[in-house]
């Protein structure tokens, strides 16, 4: 234990004396979380122009048609014809749960009276202040703001097309003729607590960046030891090779936990974020730390040179982050890649932390994510310990 403790203390000291590593690990995630929180919920590439859809996959939207009118059916048909969007029918409760749990980016609820509402082409008596409106409830995952904007735009366009196809004989129809009142809600916050602060969305993402930065920093530390020759001294020391890896894992774990606590404290005290379940948040943060410490140990023993190890670590961690939806809206990816996103530990960690902060997860919903993260950490560490014998 003494040797492990010595290595931990030494590695943390080395980290704190490397200004670049301190900035990357401790300051940058805080900047990210604060900056994007100030911009509003859901950071990632905004995509307002439908022409920019590219060759990405489709946005899987749950749809609830409560009106069952011809206009609502036409709207659904037009929306479904959009290659960017694929619709799946659902009940309102199921749709809200799916969005809250992060399983679907959004749902569209076409409320009763949608078909009966007049358009701008109808006589003025029908379009007075008391006339019924076309009401659509858009339930969005706040982490996926880009998708919700696309969806709102696509819905307006589809509604116009639907109405235009009905009134084609009357001549051209302006888009302003089809007014839709969107009520965007966040399913997780339908309680009296109100909508979550944007920071409740961005701080979990900041924590993930901090964890990735810590993992990447420590992943190269073993290669650095080799480069400076100290690995030889560590190897000659009367300690099992496993202790070397345990010491580095311990230092990484401490750094990650400190960073998580710092970010959480800033989020709570500085930005009013109120985690729904502190106990589940603790579980999520601990599981995330364990999972990524394990990934770090595996990456640490793979590299042989600083540049290749650093490049490999960042390449893998960034891939996991991208795949997990941390950098790019998932709907921009091909459908098979969206499916693969479920395999990204970044997605697991993000969902687990969000589950405790604002998604209202219960222990059962949290358990599978945390178990997957811990299992990942243990498996990676086990592989790492086998490789460390060859140092």
């Amino acid at each position: 234990m003494g040797a492990i403790y010595s290595i931990m203390v030494k590695d943390l000291r080395l980290l704190l004396r490397d200004r670049g590593a301190v900035f990357l690990t401790f300051v940058w995630p805080l900047v990210l979380a604060t900056f994007f929180g100030a911009l509003g919920p859901g950071f990632g590439a905004a995509l307002d122009d439908a022409d920019e859809r590219g060759e990405g996959g489709s946005l899987a939207i749950l749809v609830i048609d409560e009106d069952h009118s011809r206009p609502s059916e036409l709207l659904i048909a037009e929306l479904d014809a959009d290659p960017l969007i694929s619709l799946a029918p659902a009940s309102l409760t199921a749709a809200r749960d799916a969005v809250r749990l992060g399983e679907a980016p959004a749902y569209l609820r076409i409320q009763t009276g949608f078909g009966a509402a007049p358009s701008a082409l109808d006589p003025p008596t029908a379009t007075g202040p008391d006339a019924p409106l076309r009401r659509v409830e858009l339930g969005v995952d706040p982490r996926r703001g880009a998708e919700s904007k696309v969806l709102a735009g696509a819905t307006r366009l589809a509604a116009w097309r639907a109405l235009a196809s009905e009134r084609a004989p009357d001549g051209p129809l302006g888009r302003e003729a089809v007014a839709i009142e969107f009520s965007a809600i966040v399913p997780a916050t339908t309680s009296a607590a109100g909508p979550p602060s944007p920071y409740a969305v961005t701080f979990p993402q900041g924590i993930i960046w901090a964890v990735l930065a810590c993992a990447a920093t420590f992943a190269v530390s073993l290669v650095e030891e080799r480069k400076r020759g100290t690995l030889l001294r560590l190897a000659v020391a009367p300690v099992p090779r496993l202790s070397i890896l345990l010491g580095k894992a311990g230092a990484c774990l401490v750094a990650i936990v400190i960073m998580e606590l710092v970010l959480l404290t800033v989020a709570v005290l500085g930005f009013g974020v109120r985690p729904r379940s502190p106990a589940l948040l603790t579980l999520a943060l601990a599981s995330t730390a364990i999972g990524f410490v394990g990934v770090m140990t595996l990456l640490a023993v793979v590299g042989r040179r600083t540049q290749s190890a650093a490049g490999l670590s960042w390449a893998i961690l960034m891939s996991l982050a991208m795949l997990g939806g941390g950098m790019l809206p998932l709907f921009l990816m091909p459908s098979w890649l969206q499916l693969a996103a479920h395999a990204s530990p970044v997605a697991w960690a993000l969902l687990a932390i969000e589950g405790a902060v604002w998604r209202d997860f219960d222990l059962g919903q949290m358990a599978s994510l945390c178990a997957a993260l811990i299992a990942l950490g243990v498996i990676c560490f086990a592989i790492g310990t086998r490789s460390v014998r060859e140092l």
Binding site: R13, L14, R17, L232, R233, V236, A237, P238, V239
Partner: protein, 286 residues
């Protein structure tokens, strides 16, 4: 103290060690000389427990522990290694470096400060103890590298080119330190390319090449066995004549009886001559 018996090790297609046997006693410095690729590093690695030999044995006989191979951590605890590369942390101070290595080598926590102070004083770095190692000169860093190898008071020291790239003052200090270690009863296996260092320090020298020990013994014995006779160099009006002879004084008198040299000198065989005689003059890194 250290006994290497018939060590054999194959690395890829090369027979890195081919039946090497060597002993180093307590209070003795044994020099290990050899050209690049001769097998020195493999020998040091096996002695330090970093790798295992294919055949043969390495045993350390210790006063306070049962003898055993260095692959066992209990035995490695009594070995100190100063690698050729500077194996220290530039971001840590000299004292922090030594405290870390002492802790790693299982020195009791309470004893670490005293051990660190003693090691720093030994290599003359006590006045710079709290400065980061990255600010040290090359010579100071070399001395810290040595201190890190001995802070846990090992019985056997493996010093791999400990004076590479240092100024004469630091080099002299390092050599004095090694001599003091011998006086303290440490066994030292000293790898070097500097023949004058080996001649100054080593009680015995082993010359290794192609994985085999070509010659082994005291400096005088090696010189006698492989150095050839002393050379008498005589100068006559700018022309130099060289005579190899075991009795240079008698030959000088004989020559002087007929011709008077303007100057003369007797050149004793050197360890470098012995080394080149045994390992050849072909470049090994070409």
């Amino acid at each position: 103290m250290l006994e290497l018996a018939d060590l054999r090790k194959r690395r890829g297609h090369t027979q890195a060690l081919d039946g090497v046997s060597l002993r180093v006693a307590a209070g003795e410095i044994v020099g290990l000389l050899g050209p690049n690729g001769a097998g020195k590093s493999t020998l040091v690695s096996i002695t330090a427990g970093l790798m295992e030999a294919d055949q043969g044995s390495v045993a350390l006989a210790l006063a306070d522990a049962a003898p055993g191979p260095p692959t066992r951590p209990q035995i490695r605890r009594h070995i100190g290694l100063a690698p050729q590369s500077l194996a220290i942390y530039a971001e840590l101070s000299g004292a922090e470096n030594l405290a870390f290595f002492a802790g790693l080598c299982r020195v009791a926590r309470a004893d670490i400060p005293a051990r660190v102070d003693a090691a720093l004083a030994f290599v003359g770095l006590d006045s710079r103890r709290d400065d980061r190692a990255g600010t040290y000169s090359g010579g100071m860093a070399r001395r810290l590298n040595l201190a890190a190898a001995l802070v846990h008071e090992p019985a056997l020291l493996l010093l791999d080119e400990p004076t590479v790239g240092v100024d004469p003052q630091s080099r002299n200090r390092l050599l004095e330190n090694v001599e003091q270690l011998r006086a303290r009863g440490k066994a030292v296996l000293y790898t070097t390319h500097y023949m004058e260092e080996a001649q100054r320090l080593c009680d015995r020298v082993a010359i290794i090449d192609h994985g085999k020990i070509l010659a082994h013994g005291t400096i005088d014995a090696l010189l006698a066995a492989h150095g050839g006779p002393p050379r008498l160099e005589l100068e006559f009006d700018g022309a130099v004549e060289t005579i190899e002879t075991d009795e240079p004084l008698a030959r000088l008198q004989a020559v002087a009886a007929t011709r008077t040299p303007t100057s003369f000198r007797v050149v004793r065989p050197s360890l470098e001559q012995v080394f080149l005689q045994l390992t050849g003059r072909t470049l090994r890194d070409a």
